[in-house]
Symmetry: C2
Subunit: 211 residues, 2 copies
Amino acid sequence: MPQADAIAADDAVTPRQGEVLDAVLELLVEGRDTLTMTAVARRASCSKETLYKWFGDRDGLLTATVRWQASKVRAGNWDRQHLDADALAESLEAFAANWLTVISSKTSVALNRVAIAHAGSGRSDLGRIVLANGRFAIGERLKPLLEAAREAGLIAFNDAEAAFRTFFGLVGRDVQVRLLLGDGLVLSKAEIVADAERAVAQFLMLYGRRN
Amino acid sequence: MPQADAIAADDAVTPRQGEVLDAVLELLVEGRDTLTMTAVARRASCSKETLYKWFGDRDGLLTATVRWQASKVRAGNWDRQHLDADALAESLEAFAANWLTVISSKTSVALNRVAIAHAGSGRSDLGRIVLANGRFAIGERLKPLLEAAREAGLIAFNDAEAAFRTFFGLVGRDVQVRLLLGDGLVLSKAEIVADAERAVAQFLMLYGRRN
DNA sequence: CCCTAAGAGTACCGTACGGTACGGTTCGGC
DNA sequence: GCCGAACCGTACCGTACGGTACTCTTAGGG
């Protein structure tokens, strides 16, 4: 796990603090420009002084929010036993569908937006944290599956990282950037499943051992 | 009020206005938080009053800047004559390399960041404009090539849009989101060329007619 | 029943920035 | 050489927001 801060997440977040962070997420989803400390305090029914006491400053609050959300999104496991072609496809599809669901959620879009805006202005933990918990976390979770599949003779590749990046591209395509830029793209559950199947089929056509 | 003129006159940008917009791009690249009207005026050696006269307000200035940059990035043509397998691969690689070069440029990253931040806060032309001049513009330019290649019997697909999106994913992969989030990813000219070749090879493996 | 601590609510301060006003300067037209 | 337009530089205004201080309420502990 190269990104050390991927899991430095929900340490010592009291339930009440969780409520506050949920309020931040709400406001974030409603529109980034409404995210003022006063608005957070009002929404969470707490005082600004408490916000500053708990989170230090505005950046600290945002950082805690990003970590808080990351700690809530954990998914995509696979069965290490009996890995045959069907099980592989199924696991990959589960990863793909989960990933598409996450990146198309309003929360993820809003959080990525604020992290990207933050990354533009010098001092930026947010971008790094989002990357560590998003793109890199899923990479580290998926690579073992890819390598197990390779050892089982189901797929072939030299570089697991490169293979994952191809998978990533086939799954995500233009979805994330379109959502971030405000395109009115909506992914239904059915479309996500179909997209996941298509992406996995394409991936296996590129990397699968001909049988 | 000359405001209407200034907004509508995104095609008729005087040289002096171009200088101002270039100054905006400079500041944008240097760090988004430094982009204040005062800073623009200082950098461009013009008065704030002139900025407001020409561009209406801050959003107008940003919009003009996005359009200005878009008007500077036009590339990726292909030879309609003699379209054989080699020519197709070459054209696709040119598209891919050009696209990678654009999205990994500091200017593009900075502009996408501000557009994304803008898209978060309700009323947002910026996101739409960036999308129209980026993702969708290249799609519209590439699809004719794909369709010509299909008619030439080089590739096979039902939906040109879907084929393009796959191409888009294979080329871009995780590059754009990583750059937007501030990952220290640098693409050398050689890597871009290699990536373009890989993406095209993969695309042709998925869509190419077996020969 | 008091004492203390946590925290809600609110008033307040400083500053940064969007937007405006105005005096001074340059320059093309007559 | 004069006039007006364009425009630079800058001082100025209003406001929004980050951050702080202060009061008031509530809850536990003795």
